[in-house]
Amino acid sequence: MSEINREAVAHLARLAHIEMTAGELDKMAGELDVIVDSIKSVQEAAGPDVPATSHPIPLANVFREDVVGETLTQEQALSGAPDSADGRFKVPAILDEE
């Protein structure tokens, strides 16, 4: 058994910014426990001498000339936003100061 219990899922859900009901937390804890149990064998696959691969095809740094290319207009960039004002994204309060 792995260590994914309801409290752990609640903590992860907070980190991931997803509100979850008590029922959802219970269900997901059960599911994740089974999933993690089945995939944790990767830990025994490789010793310390095996290098990690983060990217399938090795690439060197990719640069371009430092010139202005195609960009979105301010209007285009805001076109899908749920709320905007004065050409900017409008967000709810960052801090709770009630």
């Binding site: 991931a16 990767v42 830990q43 990217h55 749920p82 967000v91």
Partner: protein, 509 residues
């Protein structure tokens, strides 16, 4: 159904070039077909009637004026709704992006426009491409044209079902762990995952950036090669895009010869967990290739047993990062929490709770776990090492063989709902397709016949940058099998006009 919808893209291109038919006629025939059968199939989330017909009319005018046109000009195509398009909504199959209009085109869409191909619409998928059955779409599942009570594969079930149901001759898909190849296998169509970086990912909504790849979906190997040449090539907008030229894929698909080709059978991708019918069709294909002069060799990839585990750590880790951008600020939906205080953090939590479906939440939480302090080395770090081991397995295998072969999916299409409540059983569908994504190598799935009346796929894999080998081997096997069947596999598919959802819920057999 109009005969026009039965033709391959290559044949339609010939007929258009010879002025035997107009693009408006071809496009309208497919739109009519969509109107006729898509109520049952649900392959399309959006049908782009007006623009498609306008593009078709333009092509016809240009052709009449004697303009020099690209090879596929006037041949219509469907687009997986994970790829952003100006003028059509892009939803990624999620409520989060319902009705969202992209302000820019993906690079592949720019190429489709330059190739003057009318876009028929956007196809259904598992939400954010997370799934193997298209049942995780927020807009209802797509149904398999062979049996409406069964899944069309996923995540690209919409694109595969669209070509298999003759609603489109071509489609675009994306493949992170098999989302082009597995749907091709279970619908009797063709799907190709190119070498990682061979086709630009710019404008493909990201799930797992080191695994995602756009590729062609079609009914014939040649058609996929034609489309691959249109969409492939270097793109400065995608920093992981390869600078190599696309290569002569169409020519490879016409070579028609496997004499002397060494084809490696992967020991680890058969046996336990594979359906008997799937294995029977697989061994028939091996016999045909052997008789055609190929040398069949056995290869071993011992670390493949860790591939699924590595994939289900790397993919959710990358997905949890990529999906952090759906925060209810820059695009998509915003949902306010029921009670105050109304802070950005709580709005984010409520937005993501309402906008994401169960599978997406599962993967975000799993990825957040794998990346969290104290677990990172054990899980994500180990998975990245497994990736190295899998690449080494492939290197050793390709030292013995020019291409590798396996069944694409261990089982034919299963029933809708059958695995929906068992995530692990669902994940096992990708066991044969995942290794290629982890290693970045190209793969193709072609129809291999039927098992209990349902299509089975044969997968070829080639070394990175050797996509042409897939088309050569794939075309030869396709030709041999069609000779045996007396025509394409899809000509054996049921007539959708005779089927209704209700009649087939009891199953085809």
């Amino acid at each position: 159904m109009s005969e026009l919808t039965r033709h391959s893209a290559a044949r339609l291109a010939e007929m258009l070039a010879a002025k035997e038919v107009t693009s408006v006629e071809v496009t309208q025939a497919h739109l009519d077909r969509i109107a006729e059968v898509d109520g049952n199939i649900n392959a399309f989330l959006h049908v782009n009637t007006e623009e498609a017909l306008a593009v078709a009319a333009d092509v016809d005018k240009a052709r009449a004026a004697g303009e020099d046109l690209p090879a596929l000009a006037g041949v219509p195509i469907a687009i997986k709704d994970l790829i952003v398009t100006v003028g059509q909504p892009t939803t990624a199959g999620s409520k989060m992006l319902e009705g969202w209009m992209s302000p820019y085109d993906a690079t592949v869409i720019k190429k489709i426009r330059a190739a003057r191909m009318p876009m028929l619409g956007k196809t259904n998928l598992d939400e954010f491409a997370m799934g193997s059955s298209t049942e995780h779409s927020a807009y209802g599942p797509t149904r398999n044209p062979w049996d409406l009570s069964r899944i069309p594969g996923g995540s690209g079930g919409g694109s595969a079902a669209a070509v298999a149901a003759f609603e489109a001759p071509l489609a675009l898909g994306t493949d992170t762990g098999g989302s082009i190849r597995q749907p091709a296998a279970v619908t009797g169509s063709v799907g190709v995952k190119p070498t990682y970086g061979g086709v630009s990912r710019y404008g493909a909504i990201a799930m797992a950036s080191s695994l995602d790849q756009i590729g062609p979906v079609s009914r014939t190997v040649l058609d996929s090669a034609l489309l691959h040449e249109v969409i492939g090539g270097h793109d400065p907008h995608d920093s992981t895009s390869l600078t190599d030229p696309v290569g002569s894929l169409v020519e490879a698909a016409k070579t028609g010869n496997v004499a002397g080709m060494r084809i490696g059978v992967i020991n680890e991708l058969q046996g336990e967990g594979y359906d008997e019918g799937v294995l029977a069709r697989f061994h028939e294909s091996l016999d045909l290739l052997r008789d055609a002069g190929a040398e069949i060799v056995e290869v071993s990839c011992p670390n493949f047993k860790y591939a699924l585990g590595a994939y289900y750590l790397i993919m959710p880790s990358e997905a949890s990062s990529n999906l952090a951008k759906y925060d209810g600020v820059r695009f998509g939906h915003r949902v306010l929490p029921a009670e105050s205080p109304l802070t950005i953090e709580r709005v984010m939590g409520a937005t993501r709770a309402a906008g994401f479906g169960d599978e997406v939440k599962r993967r975000i939480i799993l990825g957040t776990y794998a990346l969290s302090a104290g677990y990172y080395d054990a899980y994500y770090g180990s998975a990245q090492k497994v990736r190295t081991l899998i690449q080494r397995d492939f290197d050793a295998a390709f030292a013995q063989a020019d291409v590798l072969i396996s069944p694409t999916s261990p089982v034919p299409a299963f029933k809708l709902g059958e695995k929906l409540n068992d995530p692990l059983a669902m994940y096992l569908n990708d066991v044969a397709t995942i290794p290629a994504n982890l290693a970045g190598i190209p793969g193709i799935s072609i129809p291999g016949g039927l098992a209990d009346g349902l299509p089975v796929g044969i997968q070829f894999l080639a070394p990175a940058r050797e996509d042409a080998r897939l088309y050569r081997a794939g075309h030869v096997l396709e030709t041999l099998l069609e000779e045996k069947w007396g025509g394409p596999l899809l000509s054996q598919a049921p007539d959708l006009r005779q089927l209704s959802g209700a009649e087939t819920t009891s199953g085809a057999k």
